[in-house]
């Protein structure tokens, strides 16, 4: 299902929300600021025309967000002034405008040649995301000979940006040049074009992951799960975090403390099944949040009496 952003007046915006619901889509977020409303939502591909007609009628703006429904890690070798804020913030902000939920991660031992390495916790944290963008430096020798150590063992697709022109980098899904260590913000058309290249590479990586998931899909969509959790858990409404239930390709991230709510989520009934039976619920390395990974059908044993996970790993 493609994602969209609606921007327009608050008047009659309820009609759009109702239409998305009727079409079997899902509303990700609704923000009302003054008289303006911003709505992010998914609708099935075949019904996009109906939505476009309504938006035209409401005199609003509709933008397609190709990265919506994904969570991307934007990784920097350190959090020093050498690597932050430009261009890391620019990459993260551009991906956000394309619909992704981005988290910026600074590594503890990312800089240097011989000394650069990725810790076990850092690897697990990055692997909680759907894809990772590594924003690296300007020296060809460092990139080609050493920096691949940082993303060699990652199981998620890695898009690397760096300064010099290189055809590719080992272990990277894609390499984008011209976006290495910059001392200024990206403002010109050429620079913004580079950000767009990064977004397109991420889109391609996500598309491939989606294809792989569709070969052995989970019992229900992460978007349906997100809606169910939001409807049933009262505390979600009191949660101050942005996007308290963040959809990912294989599940959702629930921004509530694991110790209090993991049990509640396990016992929650979703689409006639206990969530603990059809998903792996584990503690996130990010702020004690909860990760819900929907199990693929091949790992579930469905029977008239209920459902059972075939292999272990339901509780971690």
């Amino acid at each position: 299902m493609p994602g969209f952003l609606f921007e327009g007046g608050g008047y009659r915006h309820q009609e759009l929300l109702e239409l998305v619901e009727d079409l079997g889509g899902s509303v990700l977020q609704t923000r009302t600021i003054g008289t303006e409303v911003t709505i992010t939502f998914f609708v099935p591909q075949e019904d996009v025309g109906v939505v476009e007609d309504l938006v035209r009628d409401l005199q609003g703006k509709l933008k397609r967000l190709p990265l919506m429904g994904s969570e991307i890690a934007v990784v920097s070798p350190t959090i020093t002034r050498h690597h932050l804020p430009h261009p890391l913030c620019d990459v993260a902000e551009y991906l956000r405008r394309e619909g992704a939920k981005t988290n910026m991660i600074g590594l503890a031992r990312g800089p240097g040649q011989r000394t650069c390495q990725l810790g076990v916790e850092e690897r697990k944290l990055i692997e909680e995301h759907d894809a990772a963008v590594f924003v690296l430096g300007n020296f060809e020798h460092c990139l080609k000979e050493y920096k691949w150590k940082l993303f060699k063992d990652l199981s998620v697709p890695v898009i690397v940006t760096g300064g010099p022109e290189l055809p590719s980098l080992p272990y990277a899904f894609s390499y984008i040049s011209g976006m290495g260590r910059l001392p200024y913000r990206t403002r010109t058309f050429t620079e913004i074009g580079k950000l767009d290249e990064v977004a397109r590479a991420v889109e391609k990586a996500l598309e491939e992951r989606r294809k792989k998931i569709s070969l052995d899909p989970p019992l229900l969509s992460p978007l349906v799960l997100k809606g169910e959790i939001e409807n049933r858990l009262e505390e979600i409404r009191k949660c101050g975090a942005p996007l308290p239930v963040t959809p990912r390709l294989k599940g959702v991230r629930v921004k509530l403390p694991y110790s209090r709510f993991a049990g509640v989520l396990r016992e929650m009934e979703v689409a006639g099944y206990r969530l603990g039976e059809i998903a792996e619920i584990r503690r996130s390395l990010m702020r004690d949040y909860i990760l819900v990974d929907l199990l693929p059908l091949s790992r579930l044993e469905l029977s008239p009496k209920g459902v059972r996970a075939i292999s272990g790993g339901m509780e971690v």
């Binding site: 070798p77 350190t78 020093t80 002034r81 050498h82 690597h83 800089p111 240097g112 040649q113 011989r114 000394t115 650069c116 430096g137 300007n138 020296f139 060809e140 020798h141 460092c142 300064g163 010099p164 022109e165 290495g180 260590r181 001392p183 200024y184 403002r187 010109t188 058309f189 050429t190 620079e191």
Partner: protein, 225 residues
């Protein structure tokens, strides 16, 4: 303005590589952001990423004189004492600290800008000559900040040498042998070689010309449009 920043590669196979050219842009930005254009006479950066080694040699400009009370405030003698009126707000914390140390609780503050030193505490001429701050000390911190921004963050093993107005820093992530220091000094004895402008094409940011709307053009009267 003559060129101040020179970046050279010690590795002949990587003379005008992207990293070398970009390091020049980064160094120029660091100097500009920290307003160090006048404080440095020359900044030479030597790079060899295969060792790995980055050497930075800064030639410091003439030392800045200390700032006295007469440089940042107006001193007026009156019947109730000596009035000190602050003119340069940037010196306010240093002047306030100095006056508090010298005269303690006997000071009277009239407003944000003006204090009265009790009559007879010190002659006005002597008060005018008191040193408020040493810009050279603060400049040193800024110069070190600029050099830190140029040196890659992973290069934590350092060798530093100060001689007259020259400051040399070698940085690497491996122990620095004496041979490297000699090699860098030998390279620094040669005159700096500037990067040809055509090599910087496509590296330096080029801002596309934007069309200026008629109402913002010089001489336009937007309120009449």
């Amino acid at each position: 303005m003559s060129e101040k920043v020179f970046v050279e590669s010690l590795d002949p196979s990587y003379q005008y590589g992207y990293g070398v050219l970009m390091l020049k842009v980064i160094a120029e930005h660091a100097l500009s952001e920290l307003s160090l254009g006048g404080a440095l006479e020359e900044l030479r950066i030597l790079v060899d990423m295969r060792k790995p080694l980055v050497a930075v040699r800064a030639l410091l400009g003439p030392p800045l004189p200390p700032i006295r009370v007469m440089d940042c405030a107006r001193v007026q003698e009156a019947a109730d004492g000596i009035h000190v009126v602050l003119l340069d707000e940037g010196q306010a914390p240093f002047l306030a600290k100095l006056l508090r140390e010298k005269f303690g609780g006997s000071l009277e503050q009239l407003d944000r800008w003006e204090v009265v030193v009790p009559a007879g505490a010190m002659p006005a001429k002597e008060l005018e000559r008191l040193v408020v701050s040493h810009p050279q000390e603060r400049m040193g911190e800024r110069i070190m900040d600029a050099l830190e921004r140029v040196i890659p963050v992973g290069f934590r093993v350092r060798y530093a040498e100060r001689e007259g107005n020259s400051l040399l820093i070698l940085a690497s992530e491996n122990p620095i042998p004496d041979g490297w220091v000699e090699e860098v000094k030998e390279a620094l004895r040669k005159p700096p070689s500037p990067i040809p402008p055509e090599k910087m094409e496509g590296i330096r940011r080029k801002v596309e010309a934007a069309e200026i709307l008629p109402k913002f053009k010089e001489g336009a009267m937007p309120w009449r449009l």
